[in-house]
């Protein structure tokens, strides 16, 4: 492969900005300078779809209406553990207005026996809410009436829904054989090939950062101080405004699926596999999306059911989950019991970290406390053991920084406590133990903005309502999805379009792509039509792992660059110059040697020999290669968050007064949208810290608060002043050098709030959510 050497910006402006020379493929575009010298990238460009969204013109999956469309609904088990002896669909099938019925032969989205020879006629019921069958009818009302007519003969079995009860030897077993799950939640537990004893599977002991290191015993011997604590986190349910769902339109040679999904490509592939269709005959469209935080990557049981109902009825099927179904069946952030033992020397250097966790993803895999303790601080000796515990409850799923949010809550409180033990400021302790340059800059810029120096000794605020300040930090890997492709087209009338199957789940991917293409072509973002979220276009990355911007913006730029070179070739002779001497700026193509030789971009397109020209590019390897495989880039996405709280020591009520969130994501592309994402992540973090909690009834195995009337989400009244600092962090690893922000935004918030609550009241709360009653109990007032 031909290569060339280019110099790219490297470092943090205002701190250590310089240049780095890298050898890159010869067809890569030249390096962009830092954002200050660019026109559209790194600016506050308005969302391309802002008007469509606020006026209601944007059509979400739940808005799709097709001629002859029927409505699908699913029957779910009211019992958490049972065998099904028989199912009688006859009355439902005959119900007027019902067009199709279907019984599940197997269910997806949960752990499956490794060797599946014990399967009966119907899948065993393993949680209250597990889907059994479905119907399609003229209206949702008729479909629900028909569900009432389905007769299921159950053999009831004992069940367990509590994390600690499930670990006892006498607990009813969820699985009697070893199990695996392809689409596990990714929280740190759930490695393949692990054994299950009772309801406990594992431990997972390694990650893509490697396995255990050093000698723990020796590490703890070398410590001057050892901290041992146990932290507990709750189950948080996915509460996207738009629930999971699809519309399936099955035509003879082409199935079109409108899906509320984070991964159009995967929904296509799964549908093709389930129904044994060529991928070319399955099209998935996601034009607008009402939120997705990790649980919307798959076709899901609802998608499989909608497919069968469409196939059987010959009509389009809409199947959207209702809010209760969303809470009980569509995925959640598993809970955790997180044990940490940390050894430190007097100067703050860590000598050993030992971590063990138990968490339940219900009938799924992938609980855990992530990888943050392994990677964020220097400690020569480290081990982790992360166990999945099965319970008869709805499956966990990926949830914005899986595992790491749970892990950060424990680790960052431990560091806060360790700082106090060592008589160090929490920021000073991290300056000693954390080698990340970006987080160091973030800590100190954040501390200045937040006025960290006003922090007082714990519980020293006089009066009944006490203020407290706290901070916490996090790490998220730079994950890249190589199978990411973009096509840029230009039309003779001057139109420019970018196409990819990548979806915009509300994060602003459409706008980001318009900025990148506009920057490369010397046009304005509004000149670029962005067509994405459709598998007719080249495959894009899934919207998970904060990987979209880092994966799709380099091919978008590279495709635009290739298209530009084609255009230069076509107009060079007209401008009486060489194509290599041409450049674009402000809607013009001009000679770099003689600026009078120029033509408007739109006029140039009229010179094309064909009605359209097109260029396609896929994500190339990172400049300088990857750290792990072809997926994990060097460096990380650091973040530091600061919280100010007030605590009413008579009622235990915690009010978050202010958050300062300091983040990096390589080269920022759209400042406003990054701020939007950080706001969202912080708000979700506040819900996690203070409110959200799936409450299970041990007597019935049902979730007791599967509605917004009882499951508390933060609303406008609870949202504090959130101040955001974005730190540019150039590393010269791709043609855009940009990365995502979704997950980092959510990781540190709960720990920062917990540390602030400790600073306010002088007593630590080891379990979230930090409810008023827990605060009063910690204060021994109840």
């Amino acid at each position: 492969m031909d290569t060339k050497k280019i110099k790219l910006p490297h470092g943090i402006p205002g701190h250590n900005l310089g240049q780095i020379e890298r050898e890159v493929p010869a067809d890569e575009p030249p390096a962009w300078p830092v954002n200050d010298e660019l026109k559209h990238v790194g600016k506050r460009v308005k969302r391309t779809d802002a008007e469509a969204k606020v006026t209601g013109a944007a059509k979400f999956t739940s808005d799709i209406q097709l001629p002859g469309m029927l409505y699908g609904r699913m029957l779910r088990s009211d019992y958490p553990h049972a065998k099904i002896r028989s199912i009688d669909m006859s009355a439902a099938e005959k119900h007027p207005g019902v067009y199709a019925v279907h019984i599940f032969k197997n269910v997806v989205g949960m752990a499956q026996p490794a060797d599946d020879d014990a399967a009966g006629e119907y899948p065993d019921i393993k949680f209250a809410g597990q889907p059994i069958a479905g119907v399609a009818a003229l209206t949702t009302e008729i479909a629900e009436e028909a569900l009432d007519l389905i007769k299921v003969d159950y053999e009831y079995l004992p069940f367990v829904v509590d994390l600690e009860e499930a670990q006892k030897p006498e607990a009813p077993l969820v699985f009697t054989t070893n199990v695996e799950q392809d689409d596990a939640g990714g929280g740190g537990g759930g490695d393949t090939g692990l054994k299950t004893v009772g309801n406990v599977r594992g431990p997972s002991t390694s990650s893509f950062y490697g396995g255990p290191r050093g000698d723990l015993e020796k590490g703890f011997e070398e410590a001057d101080t050892i901290l041992e604590q146990t932290y507990r986190t709750q189950v948080q349910t996915h509460c996207s405004l738009e629930t999971h769902g699809v519309v399936v339109d099955w035509k003879p040679d082409n199935v079109t699926i409108y899906a509320s999904t984070q991964n159009t490509k995967n929904v296509r592939d799964e549908f093709a596999e389930v129904f044994d269709l060529p991928k070319s005959q399955v099209r998935v469209i996601q034009e607008y999306m009402g939120g997705g935080f990790g649980a919307k990557h798959s076709l899901g049981n609802f998608g499989v059911m909608a497919g069968y109902l469409a196939k059987k009825s010959g009509r389009p099927i809409k199947l959207m989950l209702d809010r209760r179904e969303e809470h009980i069946s569509s995925g959640n952030r598993p809970n955790s019991i997180h044990y940490l033992k940390i050894g430190a020397r007097k100067d703050g250097k860590l000598t050993a970290i030992q971590q063990r966790s138990y968490g339940t993803a219900g009938v799924g895999l992938g609980a855990g406390v992530g990888r943050i303790a392994q990677i964020m601080y220097e400690s020569p000796n480290f081990s982790t053991e992360q166990y999945d515990v099965f319970t008869h409850a709805g499956p966990g799923a990926a949830w914005r920084a899986p595992g790491n949010v749970q892990g950060c809550y424990g680790l960052e409180q431990a560091m806060d406590e360790l700082a106090e033990k060592l008589n160090l400021d929490p920021i000073a302790l991290r300056d000693v133990t954390d080698t990340s340059e970006i987080r160091k800059v973030e800590r100190h810029r954040g501390a200045e903005t937040f006025k960290w120096s006003r922090r007082k000794l714990p519980a020293s605020d006089p009066g009944l309502i006490k203020k407290g300040l706290g901070m916490a930090q996090s790490h998220w890997p730079r994950i890249v999805h190589i199978d990411s492709t973009a096509e840029v087209r230009a039309f003779r009338d001057g139109a420019v379009e970018i196409r990819s199957a990548v979806q915009d789940i509300g994060t602003g991917t459409k706008t980001v792509l318009s900025q990148v293409v506009a920057e490369e072509l010397g046009l304005k973002p509004e000149d670029i039509t962005v067509r994405i979220g459709d598998t007719l276009f080249p495959d894009g990355p899934p919207s998970g792992g904060s990987i979209v911007t880092g994966s799709i913006t380099p091919p978008a730029r590279n495709a635009a660059y290739k298209l530009k070179l084609q255009l230069f070739d076509q107009v060079a002779s007209k401008l009486e110059t060489d194509a290599s001497k041409l450049a674009v700026d402000d809607g013009q193509i001009m000679s770099t040697e003689d600026p009078s030789k120029k033509i408007a971009f739109k006029e140039a397109l009229k010179e094309m020999r064909t009605g359209q020209i097109s260029a396609t590019a896929s994500r190339s390897d990172d400049y300088g290669g990857f750290m792990v495989g072809n997926a994990i880039a060097y460096g990380g996405l650091g973040s530091v968050q600061f919280a100010e709280v007030s605590v009413d020591t008579e009622t235990g009520f915690v009010k978050v007064e202010k958050i300062v969130a300091v983040h990096s994501c390589g080269r920022p592309i759209n400042i406003t949208q990054i701020e939007n994402q950080i706001n969202g992540g912080v708000i979700q973090g506040l819900g996690y810290a203070l409110y959200e909690d799936r409450v299970m009834d041990n007597e019935t195995g049902h979730q007791m608060n599967s509605n917004f009337d009882q499951y508390k989400m933060p609303l406008s009244l609870e949202i504090p002043d959130i101040e955001i600092l974005i730190v540019e962090d150039y590393s010269g690893r791709s043609s855009t050098d940009a990365y995502g922000i979704g997950e980092p935004a959510n990781i540190a918030t709960a720990a920062a709030v917990a540390n602030a609550v400790y600073n306010a009241i002088g007593t630590r709360i080891f379990e979230i959510p930090i409810t008023p009653e827990k605060v009063l109990r910690a204060l021994n007032k109840v």
Binding site: T140, E141, E144, D322, R324, E650, T651, F653, Y691, V695, M704, N705, F708, D709, Q710, Y711, K712, M713, E718, T771, P772, E773, L776, K781, V782
Partner: protein, 284 residues
């Protein structure tokens, strides 16, 4: 989330509503603002055969002074009550309670009569109506009767309202000019219903508390007047110590509720804190 089938009837007048009630029998339910009944129907906790809609009866929506009483029509919305200057001047705790209910949308549709008939143990209204010694007027096709609020609330979602009766009016005696009142609340964060709601109304003369009325909602399955707190303060000069001592007696005589958000112990503690906060606010 879909109610079972029911017959819908719309009443144009109180008389018509009462006729319909008599005609449809015990299987009928009255619909006013719909903020209690409709969710219950959607969850199928209640599946009435007939729903009699009284929301169009204009004659049931009013707030006025009538002799020694302020009277509120049963179909008056929480929002109208929250905005009433007449109530704000004479019995501020009523206005404060109205303003604490739900959100703007709920207050604009929900009615005082509907809320009382539903008798949610965590509803806001009962505390201030008990502390204000309200009376509730109930009409049926055979006549009208008036019940004291203290006798009206009988238990969890249970009241003295008969099967063919309709709440038509809430009557509040206008207190002595030296009376101050307030309603304070610690809310369930998701539903914003009361975990503890405390209303206090105190009439003072010559530096001592002549008449003390303190009532709670949310604490027990039935809202109640807390006479132990009242008696501890009546005849006393208001001091921090007296207030504290009275508040300490809160919720001693009732079975306190507990749930996954607030245990029995914690609710009891909050009742004392909110009794003290209410008394302090009134006596400051």
């Amino acid at each position: 989330m879909i109610p079972s089938e029911f017959e819908y009837c719309r009443a144009g007048s109180v008389e018509e509503a009462l006729d319909l009630l008599a005609q449809k029998g015990p299987d009928a339910k009255i619909l006013a603002g719909g903020h209690s009944l409709l969710p219950a129907m959607k969850l199928r906790l209640n599946s009435p055969g007939a729903v009699i809609d009284i929301s169009g009866i204009g004659e049931l929506s009013y707030i006025k002074e009538e002799g020694s009483h302020l009277v509120i029509g049963a179909c008056t919305t929480h929002g109208d009550i929250a905005k009433s200057t007449l109530l704000s001047e004479k019995i501020p705790m009523i206005v404060e309670a109205a303003a604490e209910i739900g959100d703007v949308q709920v207050r604009n549709k929900g009615t005082i009569g509907g809320s009382l008939a539903h008798a949610d143990p965590a509803a806001d209204w009962p505390a201030s109506l008990l502390a204000g010694e309200a009376e509730i007027v109930l009409a049926s096709s055979s006549g009208e009767r008036t019940v004291a609020a203290v006798d009206f609330f009988q238990g969890l979602f249970t009241t003295d309202l008969g099967e063919n009766e309709l709440i038509t009016e809430i009557r509040l005696p206008i207190p002595d000019a030296y009376t101050k009142s307030t309603y304070v609340k610690f809310e369930q964060p998701a539903s914003r219903f009361a975990i503890v709601g405390c209303a206090a109304s105190i009439t003072r003369s010559n530096g001592s508390c002549d008449k003390v009325r303190v009532a709670f909602t949310g604490v027990s399955s039935t809202p109640f007047r807390d006479q132990a707190v009242e008696q501890a303060l009546e005849g006393q000069a208001p001091s921090d110590d007296n207030i504290e001592a009275a508040a300490e007696k809160a919720a001693m005589s009732v079975e306190v509720m507990g749930d996954h958000f607030a245990s029995q112990e914690y609710r009891k503690h909050l009742a004392k804190v909110y009794a003290r906060r209410a008394l302090q606010a009134v006596l400051s």
